[in-house]
Subunit: 480 residues, 4 copies
């Protein structure tokens, strides 16, 4: 396998995946990004956190995000290409994630708007009333620049992972809809025309069981703003996602699904993002390696190109192997999600297998992305520490991937839970049985079982080492 | 051993080092930093790369770096405390590195100016003529705010580690001195009043053997600027070091030591920085842990403080152990340097042992600092990705530590060389014999020997894994 | 009169004012600013709009403004020197405005915090109940760094000058106090511990007659934040004033004076700021001239220093004369305010004379400051357009002075009103009778009377030209 | 005349100029700018001074200016439309200046690249050898995006207006060309592929008589960089012009015209920029008024839209009249330049009349632009001081126009000279004879003559007042 496969997202995907649907469209996307949008993405990153213009000249609250116009050019391309509408029209997520891989090789942040738009369209189409669907879905699925964006606003200041305690936003019934009041602290794609929002209906029980999921449009029926952007978060990266703090103040909202099953809808939305995070992490790692390769080919030290130095050459080859493993694990999670994404509770066993693989993939790919970005900076030597050369960007982007959609702690503990409660590891071992040598497989099974048999606190303490081995084991054998 | 030792640099040093000279002074330093300078350091980092004002109003080139005034307050404190003068006056480097540890817990960048000032004073005092010493040394050793700063400018655009090929700066004899012309690409402490500069005398042979070391003052004898700051590098961190590109244009210079032994002088200067880099890396890791601890104590999830979650608690305790190991390795390199820093070529065996330990320490502490900074960001969850909370700074700072003074590649290959040529590993194993269990020690020795016996290219390919094990092995047993 | 008087604020004040109380203290202030704080002020301006850290690590709203620490050093100096406490303790505003002139020569923005702190202490001491005074006044009058700052928050998004229509903030009685809810759009000194706030008690009539003035502390009695900083305004200058948008949400408040006389209290507060604006405008103009002078003395063109070119020399001398006139007018407004500031409604004739002179002074000094700052940039030629040289700052600062406390339109129309309703021009002409030649005075009187006799719309159209002449006439003859 | 003419550049030009060639093309330009490029221009301004990437990854000096890609989109549009090629192809400057007026209503800076490209093409086509023209002219006149840009680099650190003393750049003959060494301090359009550069051939006499004009390409014949961008100037505005400091180091160059007549060529180049500056100043003033109008129509105070307040309404109408006068004066300078731009020394009387009108127009239009921008800020009240609303930009832009191409001092003194030496005022009075009332004209003539009869120093002191009156007089009667 040649280092040349690193040079573009599709050359690597072609070398690693058995079949790629809509390849022509992906080639066009890759072509456009590599010639036009690459420089736009760099400029957006350099420009730092964008501004919000809160009031227009007449003193009316407007909350307009001041990106340079070419941001819209870059962003809309993906919507037109079908990163959202294709999923619902073609009843498959595969094209969406292929587009995301291709695009995030060039800009790892911009797949967040796409993912949360998908995460808005999917629950609306699964759980929305006919009237809601008729009113809102067509806007999200337009194939031109009038398309609406979606957003998925769950997290509040008191907590990301602990949604049960963290969500304080209250929903009050009002006429045929609801009014929501509360503050969302990490609200990705803050400018979206439509958002799905976690809130607690007045009188609902505490904890996750009392949560419901609502649809919240940007504007009220009377045309005024329905939610406010208090400010944009000053993130270290993903500058192409405007992540804001959102204030809901008696904001008009519509319930999705039953009021007492919101937590399932929320978790289904998170599935889409978690898998996107894995796919983007692998693409980012590939990009960092591609940049390192380009540098190692042109830089000379001690009389030869540094790529020809044995230690560095070895690192490239070894890391390429790891990249293939990481992609295999991420792609298995895509494949499984594509099988279960239209399920509703109660879920099948396959859904629980998906959940385990998703946690392994999120964990493993993000670790790999961070490590690879760090390594790529080191390959660049001193230049790696300079904003001027852009390679430091990949580490910033990777750290966000490592934290979004749950840090490693979260993946480990949630993975543990799905193994304990649903025996998901057994399905995983069945899945790996063809590829993994029996002795290794049995050893791995024993290790997992030993962990699961530990007393609760001890189990948590030991979980990391076993989970890490299980992730590597799965990745390696899925890529074989 | 309690997590409480993490809270301040001296509480940790006291828990880990057998004795600490000038403890009262260090306590005062720590007190001042924790109450006054901490906020200054944060403001300097937030302000980004400072400006250079190149011309004064009258059109005269002035190259003044526009730091806010409190930068000087912060910087000068350390000089007054003796981070430089104490080494020469007390004939020991121990106080200098103790100060650096204490200070870099609060600002990891500011030890760079101190180190390069030390790296200017030491060769001047070892190799400078009586006249040069009389003319310049007192300025560097002043105990008030009129103290001069030093700088060590070696690297040029074509290469950091490959000095033999990379240094194109030419020195021409002129009167009783020299004139230097060339461009330095990574010139730390660009505003220094005095620098030691690597250059090649006209007619000298190519490669490292043709290099000489020169003293270059900021101003010419006629009062005009003797070197120009083309610009400051836009680094991702260490904003408290103004790192510039320096233009030497017939700059007045004075030779240090013999013209054909410059490479030894250069490497002696690098010793001082490499050890500083290790000490600072450990302090940075401690700081990231201290911040994570403070956060984990106040943040609640799932009904309890996150510090009480078993997985996180375990990570804290395990990492504290690693911190002690990292300090032990770094401090061993300090201790050895303190024994050999006044040697001149030909060097003793102990000098070569020092070199090996220095490479192991630089490598291991930087890896640990990066890993710990990443982990501390993850402990903070989403807040870890926000500029507002400051924890992301530690990863930026750590990445610079991982690259400055040689990336891991460089440490591995140079470590290999000193083992091959000088059998330094044998002295290391002797050093470790008391602490390490004999069986483990023998296994480690066999692994190293096996590596050294490989053919050249294969040896380089395999070196990383062995070097990593050797570093961890040494760190663990030195801390025992 | 020599150009040398331009070089420092006190050298000019001494040349222009008959007597200067507390000269020693002012000399010390000038000395400290010219040696220490000048560079701090420059750094604050270069750093741009500061950040607000809205939440602390534990997720609690904190709204902390992230100035570099030396900002506090600079700011607190003036409070200690007595820019606020001296007024109440010495029963005179003269020292306050002398300090402001001296300080704003170095930083024209920092007098805003001082002025609004004064504008908080004065109504509290005039109109506050004994209990309110006992509870809050001592904090504002402390002579050490624990002093509280004040703020005067009137303006809302819908309008600055039209307070009657613009103030939508509502006050509801609650226990022994009030609760305020509303948004203040231009809230200077957003970090102040105490603010006086215009609001409309529930049920009060519309327009200015329904306004009341309240005292609003930063924290509630339970220690939580009593008002929120939505964001800081991104102003072109006065970076040393944190001007924010403030959200009041059931904020605890205390009524000052009668609930139906708030508009008088508000206007009394504005008197203090309007006069400060005039004094600062003159100091800024002096500073711009001082910088131009320093440049013109060192820059050479066509064979001689540009100060020696006749056209430029003439401009300097002519402008120095205008500076004296502007100071005379501003100082007359100070002198009159010092006589009337403790009056309460109904006011004396002298109060109305003060009002007219205040409008003339605000208008004239701001125009002069802008024009002088523009001229100083032109004296610097191309350097004047560069951020590097700092002279462009004065135009930015001056434009804020021209707009704050009412643009020229406002001064003209309000000046017209006080002439029409209170015949204030007659008192002005009496005041000028000694200094102005009788024929000129009579002509000026006729012009004003002709204006006042016009039909309403025509009067407004013609007002600007007459008001401008009246301002210049007054300034010239007051300085004679 | 209606305020509606303010709303677009062409609506105003159509109301004020008798005939407009290529109106269709201008309409298309206006349409594109108002819908597409307006937002790009705003984003470029907000982004601040762009970066220079000095080295590529391989360590080769590249000096690439990091504008966002849409900058090129915006810039190239004008070249394609013919802002340069049309002048040479159609033998008329009228279309060029019409395009500049139209474009600079939207972006006042971007006409600088166009002007200096014209200022490169014109002397090359007038004075270049056949070989030089064949080699370089076609690149400048291309009608697609491969077009080259030009630049006119005269000014050095020691002086703008005093070229005779200020230009220290030395030209040495080398083969069939020259090698230039020196530093240009205000080098507009620093990224241009070709520049005309003022330098002094070795051995030439001091002063302006020793200057020659050279053509300097961006790259040497061997492909390496022929000049270096030391840095970009951090200007307060015109962010769409990359103004740099340029280092020439034995840069390859070609002589234009005779080596001893360079000063004439230089002044001919400056003619083109000075007239552009006047045209842009008027367009900027119109833009500021258009923004003020849009605001005054939507903002309400005291019960009605502020545009309906008599004082403000009157100001709008009066200022619109002044805008027409300013355009008339500027356009007279365009019309005259269009008649004389192909002249070579010795020049006609008409050329000297042009010079006087050009000085009056540069002076008057810039003063008017600054005053109008200040007024537009004041119309916006507090919003005028906020970066968020964009209106403060016009004052920054206007200040650059007031300083570039000679401050008012320069225009006054140079205008005086052409009246004294060439009696240009007599031709001006002839020109105005039809429009101006005879009595006023005679009075104006007497005032000028009185001035010219004064002793030298006195003449300079008095010049400003007379020059100002003459400019206003000419503008008013040309617009009648």
């Amino acid at each position: 396998m040649s280092l040349d496969t690193l040079r573009s997202p599709l050359s690597f995907l072609r070398s690693a995946l058995p079949a790629i649907p809509c390849l022509d469209l992906l080639e066009a996307e890759q072509q456009w990004w590599s010639t036009e949008a690459l420089a736009i993405s760099g400029a957006i990153d350099r420009a730092g956190t964008p501004w919000v213009r809160m009031f227009d000249r007449s003193g009316k609250r407007s909350d307009e995000i001041l990106y340079p116009p070419e941001y819209q050019t870059m962003l809309r391309r993906g919507y037109r290409s079908g990163v959202v509408w294709r999923a619902l029209e073609e009843k498959s997520l595969i094209p969406a994630y292929l587009f995301m891989y291709t695009i995030s090789f060039y800009d790892p942040g911009i797949c967040c708007p796409y993912t949360v738009s998908l995460g808005t369209a999917v629950p609306l189409s699964k759980y929305g009333s006919a009237e809601l669907q008729a009113g809102f879905l067509p806007h999200l699925l337009r194939k031109d620049d009038s398309v609406w964006q979606g957003a998925t606003w769950m997290t509040e200041i008191e907590g990301g992972s602990d949604l049960g305690a963290g969500v304080k936003t209250i929903a009050r019934p009002a006429g045929d809809g609801w009014l929501l009041t509360g503050d969302k602290y990490f609200a990705s794609n803050a400018a979206a025309e439509l958002a799905v929002v976690a809130a607690r209906p007045e009188g609902a029980p505490p904890g996750v069981r009392g949560l419901a999921l609502f649809l919240v449009p940007r504007h009220r029926r009377d045309g005024s703003l329905n939610r406010f952007i208090r400010r944009l978060k000053d993130k270290i990266a993903t500058r192409s996602v405007p992540t804001g703090e959102i204030e809901l103040r008696d904001s008009e909202a519509y319930l999705l699904g039953p009021a007492d099953a919101g937590i399932y809808l929320i978790l289904e939305v998170l599935n889409l993002s978690r898998i996107a995070n894995s796919v983007v992490s692998v693409a980012l790692a590939q990009r960092a390696m591609a940049d390192a390769l380009a540098y190692a080919e042109c830089r000379t030290a001690f009389g030869k190109r540094i790529l020809e130095h044995p230690l560095l050459r070895h690192q490239f080859e070894h890391r390429l192997q790891s990249l293939r493993s990481a992609l295999a694990l991420a792609w298995e999670s895509v494949r499984l999600l594509d099988q279960v994404w239209m399920e509703r509770p109660p879920y099948s066993d396959r859904y629980h297998l998906f959940r385990l693989v998703a946690h392994l993939a999120k964990y493993w790919t993000a670790e790999f992305a961070v490590d690879t970005a760090k390594w790529a900076m080191e390959v660049h030597g001193g230049l790696g520490t300079l904003a001027e050369f852009g390679v430091e960007r990949w580490l910033r982007e990777a750290m966000i991937l490592a934290i979004w959609e749950g840090t490693s702690h979260r993946q480990i503990l949630d993975g543990l839970e799905v193994m304990e409660r649903k025996q998901a590891h057994k399905m995983l071992f069945t899945l790996l049985a063809d590829a993994a040598p029996p002795a290794e497989l049995q050893q791995m099974e024993r290790d997992v079982q030993t962990l699961l048999n530990l007393p609760a606190e001890q189990k948590e303490v030991q979980a990391e080492a076993v989970f890490r081995r299980l992730a590597r084991f799965s990745a390696n054998h899925l890529s074989a």
